[in-house]
Symmetry: C2
Subunit: 346 residues, 2 copies
């Protein structure tokens, strides 16, 4: 009972079950395996082994007289230890992505779409978070009598704008002074390095215009906060209809909703960003995501990095029987491409 071992034969059978199920989506029976593998065993023997595997929790039966399907534990085994890595089709995507947009959000949308189309699963991508990113340059300009424009350029040329209302009209000279003040104090810093004493000092130096300094700092803070509930783009939601196990009305509706609302996806992205394994790739099977509506899905995420401190997440959402090999390969490719793209541009 408890001393059962995952010996070599069991592993081979397990592999055969999963491979077959990934392809067909149907429960697989003993007879199929008996032919599918090179073990030359009869279906009866396979049946015995399968009974063991079931007891061990790697496979389960939808109903008494059906074949077996992998359990979450079974998929996990497969992903962790049994998958073949293939490092091909790097080339295929190469050109597509490189010619792309310079605007960040368009690029991300394109990538999401590219992924969805290539894999036939749904995809998501989170905009890189910039909280560790440094301020490169600040500028206040007068838009009209009682409005100032504050432009903040961060490392990696991420730009934030804010319109600030002002009570008194400022002359050019004051504006210039304020700009110099702000830049000498703030540029080169990451937002999290800006502390209260620093702000107080700046306000002192700004004299009667201290409120403006306050406003600029607020604008900065807001820019950061905005970045923190990260922007997520999704694509290929309708791909879920390709997989009967996800396509019934109830599930489809909930899934579509999850893609649209995005707040659940944010959790997922946060999680994936925080967990630092060496490859940057993570696989969530079924309930491992903690997202109710994704019980019957698997999610594969990868972290990409543009320069220092700017990390985002790409993810593929599909049925549990997704083609993990291919998905992981594709994600690796794309993250490499993004790296390359960034290095070329700066």
């Amino acid at each position: 009972m408890t001393d059962m071992q995952l010996d070599d034969r069991k592993i081979k059978i397990m592999q055969a079950i999963i491979r077959n199920y990934l392809e067909t989506g149907e429960p697989v029976g003993s007879r199929t395996i008996s032919k599918y593998t090179d073990l030359n065993l009869s279906s009866a023997t396979i049946r015995n082994e399968m009974a063991d595997l079931e007891e061990m929790g790697y496979i389960l039966q939808p109903h008494t007289s059906a074949g077996r399907i992998p359990s979450d534990k079974g998929y996990r085994l497969y992903v962790d230890t049994m998958m073949e890595k293939k490092d091909k089709e790097l080339e295929e995507l190469k050109e597509v992505i490189l010619e792309k947009e310079d605007k960040m959000d368009n690029l991300l949308k394109q990538v999401a779409k590219l992924l969805a189309v290539n894999t036939n699963y749904a995809s998501m991508i989170s905009a890189p978070a910039v909280h560790k990113n440094k301020i490169k340059f600040l500028q206040l300009s007068r838009v009209d009598k009682n409005q100032l424009l504050a432009v903040i350029v961060m490392e990696g040329n991420i730009i934030k704008n804010n319109i600030l209302p002002v009570a008194e009209e400022l002359d050019d000279e004051t504006l210039l002074k304020l700009n110099i003040l702000l830049n000498t104090h703030l540029s080169g810093l990451a937002p999290e390095e800006i502390n209260l004493p620093m702000i107080t000092r700046m306000k002192q130096q700004a004299g009667i215009h201290s409120t403006i300094v306050g406003d600029v700092v607020d604008a900065l803070a807001e820019g950061i906060k905005e970045e923190e509930d990260l922007e997520i783009y999704t694509s290929g939601a309708n791909n879920i209809f390709r997989y009967p196990e996800l396509a019934d009305q109830q599930k489809a509706s909930e899934l579509i909703n999850t893609f649209e609302e995005k707040d659940k996806l944010t959790e997922l992205v946060q999680d994936s960003l925080s967990d630092n394994n060496e490859t940057g790739i993570q696989v969530y099977i079924g309930n491992e995501t903690q997202i109710q509506s994704m019980q019957d899905c698997s999610v594969v995420t990868a972290t990409y990095e543009l320069g220092e401190g700017m990390r985002g997440t790409i993810g593929i959402i599909g049925p549990k029987r997704m083609d993990y090999d291919k998905v992981i390969g594709t994600l690796k490719t794309i993250t490499h491409q993004l790296d390359e793209l960034y290095n070329k541009k700066t």
Copy 2:
């Protein structure tokens, strides 16, 4: 045959059929109508009338022994002539929207969501197109040795940024001069008013820095172009699962795809913007949209206007048997709210 008239009684019956069908979504039979109306007619008489209405094309039978459902022509009749206008529930939404975000895209997303939640249909909203909008203010600043930042502020405080690479480093004075040059020539103009002679003149005045002037103009042009393939936000896509007539896999998949891809929606928005009827409200029933995947849907659109020349479209997408009264009411409310919001903010 051909001399059949839509007399009073037929209209009343027609109305009863549609009302009933809007509520239930089931084909309605003669007996139901005979009770539903105050006409005090037997089901047999109603049957005769219904046969007429069918011949005239206002209703149809899904199959021989079922009741009747309205045809597109029937819905059209209803929307054009028979609908009760109700101008209520203006109040209910009032507060929700006013406290909202200052960032345009967030506002639009919120509005889309508000609509979807309130109506239980899918919604879309297009960002206001700015092509007629005037340039308020331009500014070039030096980010580092070989990069300039061009900020363009348009009327209504719409801001565009562009990073320009430059070959030679510019000193502060030249930069100031260029800024003055650009602002004196361009501010106050709508992008379409900027013509070639004007550009040439500016380049002349800029002397050796004429390439920069060219770059700025390009950046402007690009900003406009970007605005022209209009941004559209959607919400409530999963609401389609509430209506069995849209919820089967095939249709749902296509619809979800249409919402996601958005290019088809763009056509719709274009159309709705170009057609100027006095109310700004338009109803597309079934094939009137020309969008294949929306054959079984109706779309109601409304145009909103923020200041001069900045018009966008809001739309509700639902089943043909949508509650047209309510939808039109809600759209009117929202467009008013948007107007108000704009007036308050400027």
